[in-house]
Amino acid sequence: MNLAEGVQLVSLGLLSFMMLGAALGVVLLTNVVYSAFLLGGTFISAAGIYLLLNADFVATAQVLIYVGAVNVLIIFAIMLVNKRQDFAPLPKAWIRKSATAVVCLGLFSLLTTMVLVTPWNLSAEVASADSSIIEIGKHFFTDFLLPFELASVLLLMALVGAIILARREFLPEESAVAVQQPILTLPERPRELAGVTPGSPDRTIASKPSDRNK
């Protein structure tokens, strides 16, 4: 039983309207937090359009990854940057804005001509809706096996890279000390005690004999 064509057309119109409005909000609003949440609205609208085009797995992946993960990362990145008063308007911003406008208009005209020129041969026969995920699963384990396994290697690399970046292991010594500076309450403390927390008494015991030797 299919939904009526009218319902589908109205849904498509609503979703497109939502998507365009949210995308315009992302670009035009000056508050970055609003832009980030409206970007989530854009992703959700795209997921709805995928659902209307009968691509249910792509819609699920869109919601899971783009709304649930990528947008969360963007919001976290906004949370990590400094406060709002640190944003200052750039001098000569019109050069950047005009360059961005030229690039965006060029991309828009390119995509429009591509949409108009491409012959869209929609096949009349339709795969059954239930089997699209099963089809994707079969492709994963037959002819797309190598990309599937490479994806896990890529994810592993991303995980290790994220941990290394967030732990700041490979930063030079000066910048690491400068980063840890707010933890220190007493600036005249010796440097080897700087990293010692009250929970780890080993290093304080180890450093005491050297003090006595002096």
Binding site: L3, L51, F57, R84, G137
Partner: protein, 120 residues
Amino acid sequence: MFVLSGYEYLLGFLLVSSLVPALALTAAKLLRPSRRGPERRTTYESGMEPIGAAWIQFNIRYYMFALVFVIFDVETVFLYPWAVAFSQLGLLAFIEALIFVAILVVGLVYAWRKGALEWS
């Protein structure tokens, strides 16, 4: 044009769930006493007095948790078609999925050893 089937319930749920916030807000507006004052405009913060601005700089550790979450989220999406088509795929696909998971378990063990999953 469209071949949407079996989504009548989703449409119904969407309609009902879009009514929920509107109904909640109108019901609250009808029921609550109307008072004006500076306290009315402050942010609700679990009954505490809100201190400072909302936009503060958070710890970078949150970002590491988010990154780890994203990676395992993507892994879930990759494993979902395998789980749905499990009965039609053979033993070989099971082993291949095990390899896929094993490569990611290496990353999980690395994150665990490096203390990325702990909040110290």
